[in-house]
C-alpha cells in the first residue's frame, strides 16, 4: 500500500491499522501522520526481513542459535543455569583458521589470591610458543586480571603452537597453566611438483579456493585483538 491508498481509508480503520503496527499516541492523529507511521513501520520491517532472511545465513542461524547476541550468555541459560566458572586453573587453545586461534582460561581462587597486585608491577600474560623444529620462538600478550578469553593472531600457517598462561612479577616469569598444542591449518595448496597443475587452475578464486583472502559471508569482525 502506498501513502495515497492509506489516506483514502476511513480514519477509524486507519487508526486501527496504526495501532496494530504499534502506534501508541492517545491523541487524535491526522490521516497523514497515521499513514506515514504505518508506511515507515512496513518499510522497516521489509528492510529487516531482507537483511535477516538471506537463506544461507538464516538456515544456519535458525538451527544453531547457541547464545544470546546481546548478553553473550548461552541460549536458555535462564532456564538451566550454567556456572560461570569451574574454579580450576586451565587454558585451552582452539584453531579458528590458518592465522587465528581462540584461547579461554580460568585461574582457581587460591592461585588468584596469591597473585600480587598490579601495583606491584605484576602482569598476567599469554606466552605464545611457536614450536617448530627449527627452534622455539615465543611472544607475549599482556592480559587483564578480569579477562578470560582472547583471539590470538598467529604469524604462521601450517605450524605448531602452544600457549602458556603466566604471570610476570618483579621481572620473574612463572607459568600458571599450559594449553593443549595446536597446528594451524594450511591456507593454500601444498607445494607440489607437477601434480596435475591444470586441475588446480579449475578452482577459481570465486569459490573461495586457492586464496586466503576470501572470507565466508557469515564471518563477522572478531570482537577483540
Amino acid at each position: 500500500m502506498n501513502k495515497e491508498s492509506l489516506q483514502s481509508i476511513p480514519l477509524e480503520e486507519l487508526a486501527a491499522l496504526a495501532r496494530e503496527e504499534g502506534y501508541e499516541d492517545g491523541g487524535a492523529a491526522d490521516r497523514t501522520t497515521l499513514a506515514e507511521f504505518i508506511l515507515e513501520n512496513q518499510q522497516d520491517r521489509a528492510r529487516e526481513n531482507e537483511q535477516e532472511n538471506d537463506p544461507s545465513i538464516r538456515v544456519e542461524e535458525s538451527k544453531y542459535k547457541i547464545a544470546d547476541a546481546e548478553s553473550g550468555e548461552p541460549a536458555g541459560s535462564e532456564l538451566y543455569p550454567i556456572q560461570a566458572r569451574y574454579n580450576r586453573t586451565k587454558i585451552v587453545l582452539m584453531v579458528r583458521d590458518p592465522h587465528w586461534a581462540f584461547a579461554y582460561w580460568d585461574i582457581d581462587n587460591q592461585t588468584r589470591e596469591k597473585l600480587p597486585d598490579k601495583e606491584e608491577s605484576c602482569c598476567l600474560i599469554l606466552r605464545v610458543h611457536e614450536t617448530e623444529s627449527l627452534g622455539n620462538t615465543s611472544f607475549d600478550i599482556p592480559i587483564q586480571h578480569g579477562d578470560s578469553s582472547w583471539y590470538i593472531y598467529l604469524p604462521n600457517q601450517d605450524c605448531d603452537y602452544l600457549l602458556e598462561l603466566g604471570v610476570i612479577s618483579q621481572g620473574r616469569y612463572s607459568c600458571l597453566a599450559r594449553s593443549n598444542p595446536i597446528r594451524t591449518p594450511r591456507e593454500g595448496f601444498a607445494e607440489s611438483g607437477d601434480n596435475a597443475p591444470d586441475l588446480y587452475s579449475d578452482f577459481s578464486p570465486r569459490y573461495g579456493i586457492g586464496s586466503s583472502d576470501s572470507i565466508p559471508q557469515r564471518i563477522l569482525t572478531v570482537g577483540r585483538e
Partner: protein, 432 residues
C-alpha cells in the same frame, strides 16, 4: 565419463517441548515436514515406482530421526496441518474476487491436504518407515551425523565427548532404521585431524569435508576434490565440489534467485492484519511466516509480482537442463586431466529444497528428464554415460579413490568462534 553424488543432509535441532501446548520452534519442524521432507520422500517414491534407477545419499541427524518417530510431535504435526488447511480455506474465501491469488490459495490448500494424506495414509505418521523402505529398495543410502549435531572441532579437547557423539549417533541410527549407517556426516563439515579415528572405531567408512579440507592436504591431492582422499587409517573423505554446489546454493548467482521463482520473504504472516491471523499465530500479536506466500522474487525492493507456477515450472526445466549440461562439460574437462573418472560431490542441506527454494524438489525431479544426477551411474542417461558400472554400487564409489595415502587432511579452517557470542559457550566444553 564421470559421476555425480547428490548428498542431502536432513537436520533440525531437537525442538520437542511437551511442557508447552504450542511452541514456536516446533513449527520449524512442521514447516520442514510439509515443505521438504514429505515432498522429497514423495519424489523418491515416484522415481522408484517409475523404475528410474535413482540413488542418492541422505544424511539423517539423530535429533531429527528421534523427532520423526515421536508420537507427540506426530500428533502435533497433524494439528499444525489442520490449522494450515483452515487458514488456506479462509484465504480462498478472502481472495474470491482475485482469480490469480485465489488459484494460489487453492494450490496451498491442496499442498497441505496432500501432506496430511501422505503423512497419515502412506506413512502412518512416521516418515522413518518411508526412509527404511527407500533404503531397502536401493534408492537411498542412509548415513548418520553426530548425536546432537555438535561442531566436533570444538570438542577436540574432550575426546570422550567426540567418541560419545559418534557412538550414540550409530546406536540411534540402528534403533531408528534397523540398518548400519553407511557413512558419517560431520556437522558443518567440521573436520579436525584425528576425528577419523572415532569414525573408524565405529566402522564408518567415509565422511564429507569442505573443499579446502581436501585441496590443502599435506600433499597436493592429484585429483583434487574429484576423488575421495583416504586418511591414514583408510577412512575416506569426500570433498564438496564448489562449482556445482554454488550453482544451486548461492542466493546471488544460483538458480533459486531467479526472479520467476517464489519469493521466500513475502508471506501473509507479515502482509495481512494481525486480527485476521490471530487464530493461527503462535502467540498473540507476534507476526511469523505462515508459509503461504503469493509473490515471485521479481527483483530487489518491495514491489513483487504475483507468483506464476507455470512460468516457474518452465524455468525449472531450463535450469535443470543447464545444470546437467554444465556437469557433462565439467566431467569432460576433468576427465582429460585425471587418471580416473571424476566424482562430483554435491552436498546440500535438505531444507534448501522446498523450504528455502520452493521449487527445489521439482527441480530435482526435472533432473531425471534431463539425464540428471538422480540417475545411477549405469543409467544410460546419467552423467557418467559409461554404462559399465553396476546399479547396486554404493552411491559413493569408494573404489574410485586411487589417490592413495596423502597424509592428513587439512583441518581447522573452520573459523571457530567467528562471533564473540558463540565463543561464550566454549569454556563450558569440558570433561566431567
Amino acid at each position: 565419463m564421470g559421476y555425480l553424488a547428490l548428498v542431502l543432509h536432513w537436520h533440525l535441532p531437537y525442538v520437542r517441548h511437551p511442557e508447552h501446548p504450542r511452541f514456536l520452534e516446533e513449527d520449524w519442524f512442521f514447516e520442514a515436514l510439509s515443505e521438504t521432507y514429505i515432498p522429497l520422500l514423495s519424489l523418491l517414491e515416484r522415481l522408484h515406482r517409475e523404475g528410474i534407477p535413482c540413488r542418492i545419499t541422505l544424511s539423517i541427524s539423530p535429533t531429527l530421526a528421534e523427532m520423526l518417530q515421536d508420537e507427540l510431535l506426530q500428533s502435533r504435526y497433524l494439528a499444525f496441518l489442520e490449522r494450515m488447511i483452515e487458514l488456506a480455506g479462509r484465504e480462498i474465501r478472502r481472495t474470491k474476487d482475485e482469480p490469480r491469488l485465489n488459484r494460489l490459495a487453492e494450490m496451498y490448500l491442496e499442498r497441505y491436504r496432500n501432506c496430511r494424506r501422505v503423512f497419515q495414509e502412506r506413512y502412518s505418521c512416521n516418515l522413518l518407515d518411508g526412509l527404511i523402505h527407500l533404503e531397502r529398495a536401493g534408492i537411498v543410502d542412509l548415513i548418520c551425523s553426530a548425536a546432537t549435531h555438535c561442531f566436533l572441532p570444538v570438542f577436540q579437547v574432550v575426546p570422550q565427548a567426540v567418541k560419545a557423539q559418534v557412538e550414540v549417533a550409530v546406536q540411534s541410527h540402528i534403533r531408528n532404521f534397523g540398518s548400519y549407517p553407511k557413512g558419517f556426516w560431520l556437522p558443518e563439515c567440521g573436520y579436525y585431524p584425528g576425528v577419523e579415528e572415532f569414525l573408524k572405531a565405529q566402522r564408518l567408512p567415509y565422511f564429507f569435508v569442505e573443499s579446502h579440507g581436501i585441496l590443502y592436504a599435506d600433499e597436493r591431492p592429484r585429483n583434487g576434490v574429484y576423488a575421495p582422499l583416504y586418511c591414514p587409517n583408510m577412512v575416506a573423505a569426500f570433498g564438496r565440489d564448489p562449482e556445482s554446489t554454488a550453482a544451486v546454493w548461492s542466493s546471488r548467482d544460483g538458480y533459486p534467485g531467479d526472479p520467476v521463482y517464489r519469493d521466500f520473504y513475502r508471506d501473509i504472516g507479515y502482509d495481512l492484519p494481525l486480527g485476521y491471523l490471530k487464530d493461527f499465530l503462535p502467540a498473540e500479536g507476534i507476526r511469523v511466516s505462515m508459509g503461504i506466500k503469493y509473490h515471485a522474487i521479481t527483483g530487489p525492493g518491495d514491489e513483487k509480482r504475483l507468483y506464476n507456477p507455470k512460468a516457474a515450472a518452465k524455468k525449472l526445466k531450463v535450469d535443470a537442463e543447464h545444470f546437467v549440461s554444465q556437469r557433462i562439460d565439467q566431467c569432460a574437462r576433468l576427465s582429460a586431466l585425471m587418471d580416473q573418472p571424476p566424482l562430483i560431490v554435491c552436498p546440500f542441506d535438505a531444507e534448501l529444497f522446498g523450504h528455502w527454494w520452493f521449487e527445489g524438489p521439482q527441480w530435482l525431479e526435472a533432473e531425471k528428464d534431463s539425464c540428471g544426477f538422480l540417475c545411477a551411474p549405469d543409467h544410460p542417461g546419467a552423467v557418467s554415460g559409461g554404462g559399465s558400472q553396476s546399479a547396486d554400487r554404493p552411491t559413493l564409489l569408494l573404489e574410485l579413490g586411487k589417490q592413495g595415502l596423502c597424509g592428513s587432511l587439512a583441518g581447522g579452517k573452520q573459523r571457530l568462534g567467528v562471533q564473540t557470542s558463540a565463543s561464550a559457550g566454549y569454556p563450558h566444553v569440558r570433561a566431567g
